[in-house]
Structure formats: structure tokens, C-alpha cells
């Protein structure tokens, strides 16, 4: 059964890939047994995270990058993640609007996903989803997430190359970039380069990177100016992303990323097991009543002692 699926993916058939992504998205238990083979059948695609604040032009930039990579003869896979409403679980997934010109291109596969608010689940979903696209022969694979919450930043960190897209308009936004996203960026695309202020923001960022400490373990991100709507700067951006692929695969960088991935998987696994423990409710209640400290509670839930 697994065998048939892997072959179907490799053949470029789109329906089986789409159905597989649905199962992955739903956390369907039937995915677990096929994971090793799914990963093993990957072709080593370059996984690129695209993140940044809402409205900065991520989807428009992804659209332009798809065009650029199609001209270079590449088959491009895209996962675009948008937040779900915590109240209704509903979501509007609007990234596709910007990419419709590629909808009928057989060498582009684009999938919208709702974050669905599960703890840690999103990271697993996007990783397995990227593995499915890899098995289907797409390379590069772009993962668009809104760089707002912790989990989105984490997904960006799990990618081999992370592009942070900013469209600074207000003076204080540079500070906001500094606060969180810059730490995960390999490349910063200062987008909306057609607007006044983009070049100045890029200069500010470069100056900041040369003086600010705190990133001794990684080289500072490359700061580029793009105009996603006209395509200006997009060839350079695609070049920079491709150039970073080699750096991302140096042994130390690969090890760091592997450690993050395993840590993430470990947290998911442990969390899942603890929640499934029949003593969960009772243990939580005891912590609530301050009869038990959280660490001991976690240990007992993991040990299955309860």
C-alpha cells in the first residue's frame, strides 16, 4: 500500500499528493507507519521558510519567486499557512489569490493550510507536508507562515533557509523586526521597494546588524530590497536563496537544525503521551490545587505512573 503511494507521488500525480496532504493535515494516524518511507523517498529538496508580518507581501513575493524558478526550469511546491480562529476553528486562507496565475501550471503545487491551533501540531504538519512535496519531486519547497506567533517562528527556524519579509513604513517597525524575527532570518527581504522608506530601512537594518551582538553563532542575514509586485529584486533574491542552500547544508548547520527538529518531535511525542495518560485530569487537578508541582506532575504523566 505504502509502495503504491510513494510511486504515485513520484509519478507527479496530483490527486494522491493532495489526498495525502489532507491526511497529514488531519493528523491521521495512518500517516505514522508510512513516515520512514516518505522521508526516505525524498529527493533532498531545498526547504525555504518565508515569514513576516501580515500584509508585508509574502504571498506576492512567493508568486514572483515561483515565476523566477519556473523560468529556471524548477518544479515548485508551496505550503501556505494561515491562522485559524481560536473561537470557531474556521479560517480564511487567502494566500492563493496572489498565486492564481500559476494555478494551472502542472509543475507548481500549492496547498493552503489552516494552523488549527494545535500545540506543536503545526510544526509537525508542515514538516511532513514538506516531505510529501519532496517525495513528489518539487524543489524548492516554500513554506509561507505569518511571523506573529511562536509556532510560526519555529517553523521558520526548521526550514533550511528562512526569508523574513518586512515592509517597513513606520519608524518603529525596525525595532519590531529586531525583537523577534531577525534572529531566525538568513535573508531579510525589505519588500515594497517601490515605496519611499524601503532603502532607508534596509540601510538601518544593515547598520544594526553590523553593530548589534547576540548572533555570534550565525552569520548576519543578508538584507535585500524587493518589489514583489513588479518583480524588481526577485532574481537577486532567488539567487541569494539558492546560494544559502550550501551554507544550510554545512555539517554544523545541518546538525543544529536536526537537533531543533528532534527536540520539536520529542516535545510533541511527550506531550501527546502525557495527555493520553488516563491520570491526566486528576494530575492537572492536583497541580491546580497546589498539591503537586508542575515538574513532578509532568514526570509522573510521562512515566505513566499518574
Amino acid at each position: 500500500m505504502t509502495h503504491g503511494l510513494i510511486e504515485e507521488l513520484a509519478s507527479g500525480a496530483r490527486r494522491p499528493l493532495a489526498r495525502l496532504l489532507t491526511r497529514i493535515e488531519n493528523g491521521d494516524p495512518s500517516i505514522r507507519p508510512i513516515l520512514p518511507e516518505l522521508f526516505a523517498s525524498g529527493h533532498g529538496a531545498h526547504v525555504v521558510g518565508i515569514t513576516g508580518p501580515p500584509g508585508s507581501g509574502k504571498s506576492t513575493l512567493v508568486n514572483a519567486l515561483i515565476g523566477e524558478w519556473r523560468r529556471r526550469g524548477k518544479r515548485v511546491g508551496i505550503l501556505a499557512v494561515d491562522p485559524s480562529s481560536p473561537y470557531t476553528r474556521g479560517a480564511i486562507l487567502g494566500d492563493r489569490i496572489r498565486m492564481m496565475e500559476h494555478a494551472a501550471d502542472r509543475d507548481v503545487f500549492m496547498r493552503s493550510m489552516a494552523a488549527r491551533g494545535e500545540l506543536g501540531g503545526l510544526a509537525a504538519t508542515t514538516w511532513i507536508g514538506a516531505a510529501a512535496l519532496d517525495a513528489a519531486g518539487y524543489d524548492p519547497i516554500l513554506i509561507e507562515t505569518v511571523g506573529a506567533g511562536q509556532s510560526e517562528v519555529e517553523i521558520a527556524r526548521l526550514a533550511e533557509t528562512t526569508v523574513v519579509v518586512e515592509a517597513p513604513e513606520m519608524g518603529d517597525e525596525v525595532q519590531a523586526i529586531k525583537a523577534g524575527l531577525l534572529e531566525v532570518a538568513d535573508i531579510v527581504a525589505v519588500n515594497k521597494g517601490d515605496r519611499p522608506g524601503a532603502d532607508r530601512a534596509a540601510r538601518q537594518l544593515r547598520a544594526m546588524m553590523s553593530t548589534a551582538g547576540g548572533r555570534v553563532e550565525r552569520s548576519p542575514p543578508k538584507i535585500m530590497v524587493t518589489t514583489a509586485t513588479s518583480g524588481e529584486g526577485v532574481t537577486d533574491l532567488a539567487d541569494a536563496i539558492e546560494a544559502h542552500r550550501a551554507a544550510a547544508r554545512e555539517p554544523l548547520a545541518a546538525r543544529d537544525r536536526a537537533a531543533s527538529q528532534v527536540r520539536r518531535a520529542l516535545a510533541d511525542l511527550a506531550g501527546g503521551r502525557a495527555v493520553a495518560n488516563p491520570a491526566w485530569d486528576e494530575t492537572i487537578q492536583r497541580v491546580a490545587e497546589r498539591q503537586l508541582d508542575p515538574l513532578t506532575a509532568a514526570e509522573r504523566l510521562l512515566d505513566g505512573v499518574g
Binding site: R15, T88, G90, A91, L93, R96, A104, M110, S112, R116
Partner: protein
């Protein structure tokens, strides 16, 4: 697995200019707990079918004003079935004459919602009719 949100693709095929109604529907269905993939204006049946295939949606909702419904709707259904999406529910919203409604249903369109239909009623219809395999 049946408790995962219903996925619907909303598109506006044809050439007419605005998509206010489609956007209101998209937000309304989001509030009803649906995952709404919104693809915007001026879509061809091919673009809609290809997007629906990649998104593996349960429902394709088409907003129609242009009067080109007899050309666009059956064609979209046909392309979806060609792609193996036998279960996907195709529904349309807009002002469509009764005689055409009968023909469209015969061509595989599941339901046509007239202009006054509430979003609650549309959501209920989808919840009752979506089939998953």
C-alpha cells in the same frame, strides 16, 4: 476525522467586476467554522478545478452574476470529475432562472443559493451534504 473543519474553495468565475458578495460569504463561513480558500475574481473553470484539486476541498462554491452560468458551471463540474474529485460538492450562488436550475442540477451542480439565502442556511446545507471518503 469527520470533525475536522469543512474545506471550501470560493471562486468567482466570469468577467464581472466585484466580489463583495463572495467576500461576505467567505467571512461568514469562516465564522461558521469552515476553512475557506478564497481565490478571487475572474477565474476560469480550469483554474478553479486545478486549485480545488491541489487544495482537496470538500466544497467548491461559485459566485455567479454574469449570466454565463450555463457555460461555466457544468464545465467546472466536468473538470473536477475528470480530476477524480467525484465527491466534491459544487454549489453556486446568484440569480439563476428556474429552468436553468433544473439543467444545472442535472449537470451535477448540487445546489443553487438565491440572493436572499442566509449564511447559516448555506453552512447547514454543506454540513448535511458533504461526503468524505
Amino acid at each position: 476525522m469527520t470533525d475536522t473543519p469543512i474545506r471550501i474553495l470560493i471562486a468567482k468565475p466570469g468577467l464581472d467586476g466585484h466580489d463583495r458578495g463572495a467576500k461576505v460569504l467567505a467571512r461568514g463561513l469562516r465564522d461558521e467554522g469552515f476553512e475557506v480558500i478564497y481565490t478571487g475574481l475572474r477565474q476560469t473553470p480550469e483554474m478553479i478545478a486545478d486549485a480545488a484539486e491541489q487544495e482537496d476541498v470538500d466544497v467548491v462554491g461559485l459566485s455567479i452574476l454574469s449570466g454565463a452560468h450555463m457555460a461555466l458551471l457544468p464545465r467546472t463540474v466536468e473538470l473536477l470529475r475528470e480530476r477524480g474529485m467525484d465527491e466534491v460538492l459544487v454549489a453556486a450562488g446568484g440569480i439563476i432562472p428556474d429552468a436553468d436550475v433544473t439543467k444545472l442540477k442535472a449537470a451535477g451542480v448540487a445546489e443553487i443559493f438565491g440572493p436572499g439565502t442566509s449564511i447559516g442556511a448555506i453552512a447547514r446545507y454543506f454540513r448535511e451534504h458533504v461526503r468524505r471518503t
